[in-house]
Symmetry: C2
Subunit: 366 residues, 2 copies
């Protein structure tokens, strides 16, 4: 990859030892708080370390310890042509990554991030390379086939997100099903909306498919008219959401009373397109999201959505991975609860309580 060899004549533990007038073993012991060095020895070492601004080399430590204290996170990135649109949809990934990062820090681990282009054919190679640099891997949605996972998992422990566990890997996901169920019920039963549509996410996303499935089942059960199909195919991005609405309107189609979007980003795009055409949300058409990204509450109108505990998702993923790294433990599958967050885009008045079973609905506090 890169040419440079042998960095500069870097400081080593030997330099510190020489300067402090002790052996390298003592330096190491002081640095790691092992053994019971004499106060004087400790002092000398500490002083030498400070004077030299010495920092032990991570790879040498890792090699010696058999532990790198680094975990890897791999996720998808748009290819060049889609870049502008795609990267919007990453808020979501970023928040999860932040959760991973925060939790791993508590354990003294750092996080190695690597994105993979959507059109990259040999993801496996990239993931494997990451495996060599880390103690364990967290893979976002749709990274690898079961076979690929098995291969990588034979090298380091693997946790997948929003997938399903395999014999070799663990998985952490949110309970999309009940979130979608509650959401649809809120629209159809509480608001009596007779027609609803699902503005979908990427067709190849399991999360999206699960949501679509529940949407249809639940809306049908509640007796609402359903609009789905190719015309309602988005891609999780705001631009994708806007395009769907615009095309539909241009084609002279009548919109349903409520539009359930596959993600908040999609909803943002959809609301934008509606506003451009002078269609009022929620008076003319109600719109809902999914995820509850941070900006959702600041939209106009504030977005009704299903909150996924994204930070927690990331934190849990790390936790599971960690317990596997440090022992053999680790639950194979973890499912986190989601929460319906009712704001105004569904037609609820600002800060009122809808007529439905209490406790099952989230509400803004601050």
């Amino acid at each position: 990859m890169a040419e440079p060899k042998k960095a500069k004549g870097n400081l080593t533990i030997y330099d510190v030892a020489t300067r402090a007038g002790v052996s390298i073993a003592s330096v190491s012991r002081v640095l790691n708080g092992l053994g019971t060095p004499r106060a004087e020895t400790r002092e000398k070492v500490i002083r030498a370390v400070r004077e030299l601004s010495f920092v032990p080399d991570g790879s040498a430590r890792a090699l010696s310890n058999g532990l790198k204290e680094v975990i890897g996170v791999v996720f998808r990135r748009g290819d060049e042509t889609l870049f502008e649109d795609e990267y919007e949809s990453f808020l979501y990934i970023d928040v999860i990554n932040r959760g991973i990062e925060a939790e791993s820090q508590r354990r003294g681990f750092d996080v190695l991030m690597s994105s993979v282009a959507f059109n990259d054919e040999n993801v496996l190679q990239r993931v494997a390379a990451m495996a060599g640099k880390t103690d364990g891997l967290i893979l976002h949605d749709r990274m690898l086939s079961a076979v690929g996972i098995a291969r990588v998992a034979s090298i380091v422990p693997v946790v997948t997100l929003a997938g399903s566990p395999t014999p070799e890997s663990m998985n952490v996901r949110c309970d999309n099903e009940s979130g979608m169920r509650e959401l649809v019920r809120h629209l159809v039963v509480d608001h009596h909306y007779g027609s609803v549509a699902y503005l979908s996410g990427r067709g190849d996303s399991p999360d999206n498919r699960a949501r679509a499935r529940i949407f249809e089942a639940e809306a049908a059960a509640a007796g609402a008219d359903i609009q789905v199909g190719p015309a309602w195919q988005g891609n999780y991005s705001a631009a994708g959401g806007a395009k769907v609405i615009t095309s539909l309107l241009d084609a002279g189609k009548a919109l349903p009373r409520a539009i359930v979007c596959a993600s908040d980003q999609t909803a943002i795009g959809a609301m934008h397109a509606l506003a451009q055409r002078g269609i009022r949300v929620p008076q003319d058409v109600a719109v809902t999201g999914f995820d509850d990204v941070p900006v959702a509450r600041h939209l106009h109108p504030p977005l009704t959505t299903v909150r996924q505990p994204m930070q927690e998702l990331g934190a849990k993923a790390f936790e599971v991975l960690y317990s596997r790294i440090s022992a053999a433990g680790g639950e194979p599958e973890i499912v986190l609860p989601v929460q319906l967050i009712v704001r105004e885009s569904c037609g609820c008045p600002r800060s009122s309580v809808p007529a439905t079973s209490p406790g099952s609905l989230g509400r803004e506090e601050g």
Copy 2:
């Protein structure tokens, strides 16, 4: 930190050599494409590697090569209590990080991410730890004092973002000055707004201070009334922006004709608060942002803002760092141009061209 020693009985290059019936030197040569191994040897090695799913250990390579092929990125994170609010403001950081990541991948590097709490007293320690695990560091805004930077830079090359270069470190930033200048001119000269306010970011941010300074100078020069001061102190977050507006309104103060926000997030919060009170943007009060985060165009109304080339900022930062890692090169300071993006929140009609010098203004294309 973590207890586990000696991971499992991992695969090594010796296992591969044995299996392939060659020496470890040959395996290494094949793996790295060095020397001129016979076709047969090469084949045997490749097969053994595949059969065993062997991946060479990154730390051992790093130790031997003197190159980890990892760079570190350090940024600030809100402390626990502020978490909810703070992390909104991170869109910005995330986009930059994405730029860093994409560029480093092109060179075969991976990125180690580490956030530091706002209230963390010894950042230096954390940063130093990162230095030990990487070949170079990129530090976001306000991470370290000049002294701290000097210390860290004695260990690995350092690039700072939105700061200023020191004898030991390099810096990459955006040209805030001219962006703010153009923006204020647009509001005061083109729109003839007679009173303007600067809803500021964190008081300790150099970027924020630079923007505030230019704002005042430029608005004063153009003859507009200026509102600044503690009442207008935000913190880069949406919640902070909303709070300022709410407090002002509660105190019965009259708002200026235009509000220049320190960041898009701040503007989002401000517009949200204004909408809550029934104040129309831009008819009653114009609002502008700074950054051009992806959602800015989808807000209601679409946000007029100054686009910072955030991806590019990150990419450039890596580039500079890389050239320092692989050689002694690297420009000490890089300043990237920004671009005024005129949308509707400033009072411009949708997609019209304002009456000002052409070429100096950006405009939405798609």
